[in-house]
């Protein structure tokens, strides 16, 4: 039987505030356990949470960027459940008046644009971290509440995805939007960006949605894809055998690459949502909303399209350049200084990103400035240095942060265009390679390349290759 896979995603992103959502504890990752805590985030009796304005604005910004309808009146609710990572036994979240509803996101999948609808965007508090001891038979777990109360954005999509390619693109696009709007650092390895998937199958050509299975514990984008593939297979095998799919929540086992039941619908939790009496509602007026709207930068997909059109870049180059906002900004700064988009695109994609990878550099804190890369491209065009030497200069720039002109001067790397000087080197090369000259005269054309190579070697790569070529042909005949 052929089935259609119907996939929806829930995205959780920790917001990039310095303090927690309802207290002044730090959100900084990696602190010593239970040192970023206070009576509020530990859920001690009698304390009063007060909303961090920046966190609220970040959530609002994300909701606007995802084209949501903004609830001008929004409120917070208690979601009750017992779990030891939740000190109050309830999570402050939103249920009745979500910040944003009915949004959508455009994404690029296999060469065309696909839209996924967003069901809602809301703000809630993060839970603490549970540590399960390695020792076999241990009957306890340990809790670190440093993350408890960190502002958490939740984005719930409609089940609009059908393939893992679409899921992959959705995750990448959400990530880019959150990075572009600078509301989250989206570090999956630190858990500041996470996904949960819900999957159902239906016979091709039918409309009725099958029972939905939710999958949790997906620690990387790779796990999301693997878990969806596994789940689609599991459900289709059950359906082929005439069995039914239970509505349930399953946990992904990253090592075993399989999922197992966590709880069924019957055991599903009763969250007993009710309005949070400790927090006051938020009204969003026209002025505030338009300020937030104006603070949203050009989003990645739009920027990519503009790069393709305005700078005549390939789809591939434009995608890579717009992958990170800082990189796209860097590129545009370069082009503003010198109108050579193709050259900058090549330098950034081939050289800068390689250096970033090799040297594990922080892309938001690059050792070179756009003006320096522009200066490098300029001296290549002027013929001051060859493109081969330019690679060395570039590497030096990355290491030292020095201006390219200065490096060229200090190291005597300037290209030799003096014909007299080049000619003397050519004469020397011809003198020591009589057999190659003979081969060349007999018609072995690639012997010329060897001779050019020898001249370049003698001049340590500094001779202007165009002049070398011309002079050599003059000397040995064509």
């Amino acid at each position: 039987m052929e089935y259609e896979v119907v996939i929806g995603l829930e995205t959780h992103a920790e917001l990039a505030t310095i303090a927690k959502l309802f207290c002044g504890c730090s959100t900084k990752f990696g602190a010593e356990p239970n040192t970023h805590v206070c009576p509020i985030c530990l859920g001690m009796p009698g304390v009063l949470p007060v909303m961090n304005k920046k966190a609220f604005e970040y959530a609002l910004k994300a909701a606007v960027a995802l084209d949501c309808e903004i609830n001008r009146f929004t409120n917070f609710d208690r979601k009750s459940y017992y779990y030891p990572d939740l000190p109050k036994n309830y999570q402050i979240s939103q249920n009745y008046y979500n910040l944003g509803i009915d949004g959508h996101m455009d994404m690029f999948v296999n060469g065309s644009i696909k839209m996924v609808r967003i069901h809602n965007v809301h703000l809630e508090e993060e839970a603490g971290k549970l540590i399960h001891p390695e020792e076999p038979g241990a009957n306890y777990s340990l809790v670190d509440f440093n993350r408890a109360g960190v502002p958490l954005l939740e984005i719930v999509s409609y089940p609009d995805m059908r393939t893992v390619d679409e899921v992959e693109s959705y995750m990448q696009t959400v990530r880019k939007i959150l990075l572009y709007t600078e509301v989250s650092d989206c570090k999956m390895q630190e858990g500041s960006l996470r996904f949960e998937a819900s999957i159902s199958l239906r016979k091709k050509g039918t409309d009725k949605l099958g029972n939905r299975v939710e999958i949790k514990n997906l620690n990387s984008m790779k796990s999301v894809i693997k878990a969806i593939e596994y789940e689609a297979m599991r459900q289709s095998e059950l359906l082929d055998r005439g069995e039914t799919i239970d509505r349930e929540t399953r946990l992904w086992d990253e090592v075993g690459e399989k999922s197992q039941r966590m709880r069924s619908k019957e055991e599903s939790q009763d969250y007993r949502y009710f309005p949070e009496p400790d927090l006051l509602p938020v009204l969003i007026d026209e002025k505030w909303l338009s300020e937030v709207k104006n603070s949203i930068p050009e989003l990645p997909l739009a920027r990519k399209q503009r790069f393709i059109e305005a700078f005549k870049l390939s789809d591939y180059d434009a995608s890579i350049l717009t992958e990170e906002k800082v990189l796209a900004d860097f590129f545009e700064e370069c082009v503003k200084i010198l109108d050579r988009p193709k050259a900058f695109s090549n330098w950034i994609i081939n050289d800068l990103l390689r250096e970033v990878k090799d040297r594990k550099l922080d892309i938001s804190n690059l050792p070179i400035k756009p003006g320096q890369l522009a200066a490098l491209v300029e001296i290549i065009e002027k013929g001051t240095i060859s493109s081969t030497i330019a690679k060395e200069v570039f590497s030096e720039m990355i290491q030292t942060g020095k201006e390219p002109q200065k490096i060229v001067e200090e190291k005597g790397m300037a290209q030799i265009s003096d014909e007299g000087l080049i000619e003397s080197v050519i004469d020397k090369v011809i003198a020591v390679n009589p057999s190659v000259i003979e081969d060349y005269k007999k018609g072995k054309k690639n012997a010329l390349a060897f001779l050019v190579g020898q001249v370049m070697k003698e001049t340590k790569g500094k001779a202007n290759p165009k002049i070398v070529n011309e002079l050599l042909i003059q000397k040995v005949g064509s």
Binding site: I18, E32, N34, Y140, S141, P281
Partner: protein, 95 residues
């Protein structure tokens, strides 16, 4: 609205409390009484009235995104029923 034994057991389970059969009987009656009292409100016409989210008529109370000093870990762990090293210790989490 009538509360039955099943409902009482469900609520007790949600609240993580154990009730004896005798207590269940007591609560069936008490909760039923409370609910029927509250049900009087259903007689009011609330057609054009929006659900109230808060009893205080104030909105937009915020704090700035500023750090404040946390409490010491010793203080944080002080009242915990069980601790281990720098952590709170809880019964094994099954899920």
């Amino acid at each position: 609205m009538k509360i039955d034994k099943k409902t009482i057991e469900y609520i007790a389970n949600l609240s993580r409390i154990e009730l004896s059969d005798q207590e269940k009987e007591v609560f069936i009656h008490q909760l039923s009484d409370i609910l029927s009292y509250i049900e009087k409100l259903n007689k009011l016409n609330t057609e054009d009235i929006k659900p109230m989210a808060h009893s205080i008529n104030t909105t937009n109370v915020f704090r700035e995104d500023k750090l404040e000093l946390p409490i010491s870990r010793e203080d944080a762990l002080y009242n915990a029923p069980s601790t281990m090293g720098v952590f709170f210790k809880v019964p094994k989490v099954i899920e």
